[in-house]
Symmetry: C2
Subunit: 330 residues, 2 copies
DNA sequence: CTGTTAGCGCATTCAT
DNA sequence: ATGAATGCGCTAACAG
């Protein structure tokens, strides 16, 4: 039965017949020691099962090798692949990552940042619901990298869904649609603003009529609830803030006997469902994995080089045509 | 522009005209101080924006208020809801949670545990791929709670998919199926063993013939790849380790022109896809949210009370009949 | 190359 | 009720 308290640097030192300085060096800057000594120490450490105490190390160096990743909703399928990508990138650089879930609430997000504050070197804020001012303030304290949030002066990775949304509108126009609606997402969402603007802009350019329907929480059930409004709008095509919302709409439309795409064309956004809906959903591609990986690399860079470059990394998207879009009903 | 280094206990002490001992007490055991002093200190702390340094506190007390949550694959839809539930439960008790992704690899899982080791008070291991011995060893060092892993002596929450799987087999039998196959999951997975055993046991009890097809990584593509073997087996129904695998099979079957459920009945497991596949998938319910919440409560209990009760918390499941199961072809 | 010394920021005896 | 002193485990000058 192993003891509950882990061996310390001192025990290793004693076991190896050196002082703790040497043990410390063996783990941080082995090139300063003779190979012989390093070997001795490694052997002793191995034998005792010694692992450096990160907390103690952090107190001494001010660096704990931790970063915090905060997302609005872990369970929203848009985020897990991004989280996973960020994780494995962090792993490569030996960082541990705290995960925070803001539940789409600015207050909760702020609270989490405070709680993590003391023990992380930097933050990766995904689709942050904070205000620009709050973000700037936090960024003044320690490095922050943003995903899908465009704040001047703060390194950010933006998935430009506008490009894909524009393609979607063009696609619908080419199918003969004259009137469409956009079903929105969270108020504080940068992606939502961007998508809504892209729909409006491209629709106007093509001479289409466009309405907007508000919808705060992006989820299956919310998609169902919004259907009556969509139907009442008289539009022949709808673009939803995300796939989840679109999926909910699809289910509700099926229940109401409204056939897709014959009576109504539906376009999602983020391509998180793949071809798994029925009919398979026409949507806008997402590049969340690249975004997660890139953002984390940016953050690590900022941490290692002390400098946070003012990068604005944009990832374009495309429309993915599947089977929920078709010719406009006449 | 706020300074980048946070104020320390000493600065607060000086500002308040007391020693750091008093400041420390003001934050941990204010009842030991006069109200007057506490007020003075609080005011000074407030003014300076002082927040206790968790790292320093941890080094001194051995308690950092962090826990680690390790899952095989964040991007597997089974886990996010569980993670979310565990998160919010941790939040209620003011714990920060590290998230680790083992990529289904025991070695990676072990590495993560080591890396977190120094800075967490306990672990929540979900669907751990480690050996019993490894788990016991880690549990000897600090509190561990398991989800979907049944190791004697270690607090664990088990989602009993056997009950649901058994119902599934009975369901298939009642539809006239005589021969079925089980498409497996990860080798180290407790759930996989449990499901496979349940299929065999109940099939035998009902006089059905049953084959097993191995399949290491539970994912959409793996589901597609396994289809030829399933078809070759001559079975009229298949039960898959999880919904993802089943979904991949559905896609491949569609591509091959094999109609479901007319020619082949398909049952998934975990109900992570809801009714979103086509045809909508018959599956076994999951209770991952309750599992996450319960496990985290158990862990916090173990941390606060020093004692890890040997609980074995079992959550039963049921079959959810949708549209991928039908009468056996004749 | 390696040992000695002094903290990092805080909690916690032990005094007073 | 409060102050002084010690140590948590480790890194980082500073010597030699």
């Amino acid at each position: 039965m192993p003891r509950r308290t882990r061996p310390t640097i001192n025990q290793v030192a004693e076991a190896a017949g050196v002082t703790k300085s040497s043990v410390s060096r063996a783990f941080t800057r082995p090139e300063m020691l003779s190979e012989e000594t390093v070997r001795k120490i490694s052997a002793a450490a191995e034998r005792l099962g010694y692992v450096p105490n990160r907390t103690a190390r952090a107190l001494s160096t001010g660096r704990h090798g931790n970063i915090a990743l905060i997302v609005p909703d872990v369970a929203n399928p848009f985020f897990p692949p991004l989280i996973r990508a960020a994780q494995s990138e962090a792993d490569r650089s030996d960082y541990c990552v705290f995960l925070g879930n803001s539940d789409e609430m600015p207050k909760q997000e702020d609270k989490l940042i405070g709680r993590f504050g003391g023990q992380v070197e930097g933050f990766l804020l995904v689709s942050s619901r904070l205000t620009d001012e709050q973000i700037v303030e936090h960024a003044a304290r320690r490095p922050v990298v943003l995903i899908n949030r465009d704040v001047e002066g703060i390194p950010r990775v933006l998935i430009d869904s506008a490009s894909g949304v524009t393609e979607a509108v063009e696609h619908l126009a080419s199918l003969g649609h004259k009137k469409l609606v956009y079903v929105g997402g969270p108020r504080g969402s940068w992606s939502n603003k961007q998508r809504r603007a892209a729909v409006r802009r491209s629709a106007r350019a093509l001479g289409l009529e466009v309405g907007v329907i508000a919808n705060e929480y992006p989820a299956f059930e919310a998609g169902r609830r919004v259907v009556p409004n969509v139907l009442a709008s008289g539009a022949t095509a709808v673009i939803a803030f995300d796939d989840l919302t679109a999926q909910g709409m699809l289910a509700e439309l099926l229940d109401r006997g409204v056939s897709v795409p014959e009576e109504l064309s539906v376009v999602g956004c983020d391509d998180v469902l793949g071809a798994t809906t029925y009919p398979s959903l026409t949507t806008v591609s997402n590049r969340s994995i690249e975004a997660g990986k890139t953002a984390l690399t940016l953050l690590v860079d900022a941490l290692e080089n002390q400098a946070a470059p003012d990068v604005r990394y944009v990832l374009n998207t495309n429309i993915v045509v599947r089977n929920t879009t078709g010719k406009a009903r006449t």
